[in-house]
């Protein structure tokens, strides 16, 4: 890595991506909160939404927002979606090397210099893949519970409930970890503003954390 200070800003997440991320995040929080309220029968949560019946209604229609938001984004920004899928599904030697050291994020694994990464590091790539699979599972099991409960077998419905619940628990843990690394961890919390506010991040940070991607950006300059 060069010692030269790189001045400037990188537009990491454009307006459409940030809008979609906000919509999906808010929908996820509402869905997670109401879902936890249903599963453990917590009256306090249901009452926030006007009682159990209204909470159920909010859960179902927020689920629709949870689907429509990213779907619209994908259809209107297919190039961005394709680049994202290409990045998170491509694993190089550097990604595996990054995973071996966990990019230096784990305190007891000492790392001099993490291997160069693309726009998303290996951990973010795995998270992206898991979020896509998790969303599909939650959506595919949610609709039978809503619309087909009277026509499908009770065994199939029970399977849907179990898959829906456990996928949601794993997703909540993944998002909690994602939030910790993106907003709290001192090494990476600068990422928070780039996704949640203006989309920009310091070029110096990008050159260090996403060296391969930054090299590509410099070529296009």
């Amino acid at each position: 890595m060069s010692e030269e200070i790189i001045r400037g800003k990188v537009l990491k997440h454009d307006t459409q991506t940030r809008t979609m991320h906000w919509i999906h995040l808010l929908a996820f929080i509402i869905l997670g909160l109401t879902g936890i309220g249903f599963y453990w029968d917590i009256a306090g949560i249901a009452n926030i939404f006007g009682g159990p019946a209204n909470a159920s209604l909010v859960h179902r229609w927020t689920g629709v927002v949870f689907i429509v938001g990213p779907t619209l984004y994908i259809l209107l920004n297919f190039d961005r979606f394709s680049r994202f899928i290409d990045t998170i599904s491509s694993f190089s030697k550097d990604d595996f090397a990054w995973l071996k050291t966990m990019g230096g994020y784990v305190p007891f694994i000492k790392v001099e210099e993490a291997p160069p990464q693309e726009k998303y590091n290996a951990g973010q790539k795995i998270l992206g893949g898991l979020i896509i699979i998790g969303c599909l599972l939650i959506i595919l099991t949610g609709f039978p519970m809503w619309l087909w409960k009277d026509v499908v077998s009770s065994a199939f419905l029970a399977l849907c409930y179990n898959v829906h619940f456990w996928t949601a628990i794993i997703m909540i843990l993944l998002v909690a970890g994602h939030f910790f690394l993106a907003a709290i961890h001192p090494k990476s919390r600068v990422e928070f503003a780039s996704m949640m506010l203006d989309g920009y991040i310091d070029a110096e940070i990008t050159a260090h954390h996403n060296a391969k991607w930054f090299a590509e950006l410099q070529k296009t300059e």
């Binding site: 400037g8 800003k9 190039d79 899928i85 290409d86 296009t220 300059e221």
Partner: protein, 119 residues
């Protein structure tokens, strides 16, 4: 200050991967939706067959209306409203009306009081 931005557009590889991901999601959702709609259709078919079966059974009955049943007419004429067919007679209402909840214990006591009487 330099502003670095991504190149717009996509390569053929990116297009194929994006399309592939979208296609997989659409196909999996489509197959799942098909299973659901088939279950709906099977359920509707079952309901239609069951309804048709019940109507067919009903059409085959010799007596299809309870107020035309000779035994019911006899019960009214001889017991519930002697000498006539008064379907809402006081005795009919009292004996045939459903009792539930807190009315049941007193009704049991009342029936016990009549147990010695001939039907």
């Amino acid at each position: 200050m330099s502003i670095f931005t991504e190149k717009v557009g996509m390569t053929r590889r990116q297009f194929l991967k994006g399309s592939g991901m979208l296609a997989v999601a659409v196909i999996v959702s489509g197959v799942f939706a098909k299973i659901g709609f088939d279950a709906f259709a099977a359920s509707d078919e079952y309901i239609a067959q069951r309804a048709a079966g019940l109507y067919t059974l009903d059409e085959k009955m010799a007596l299809r209306k309870s107020h035309e049943n000779p035994e019911i007419i006899q019960i009214y004429q001889e017991f519930l409203s002697p000498g006539e067919q008064k379907y809402l007679s006081e005795k009919a209402h009292h004996l045939l009306h459903t009792k539930y909840g807190k009315d049941i214990p007193s009704f049991i006591e009342e029936l016990k009081g009549h147990s010695g009487e001939a039907a």
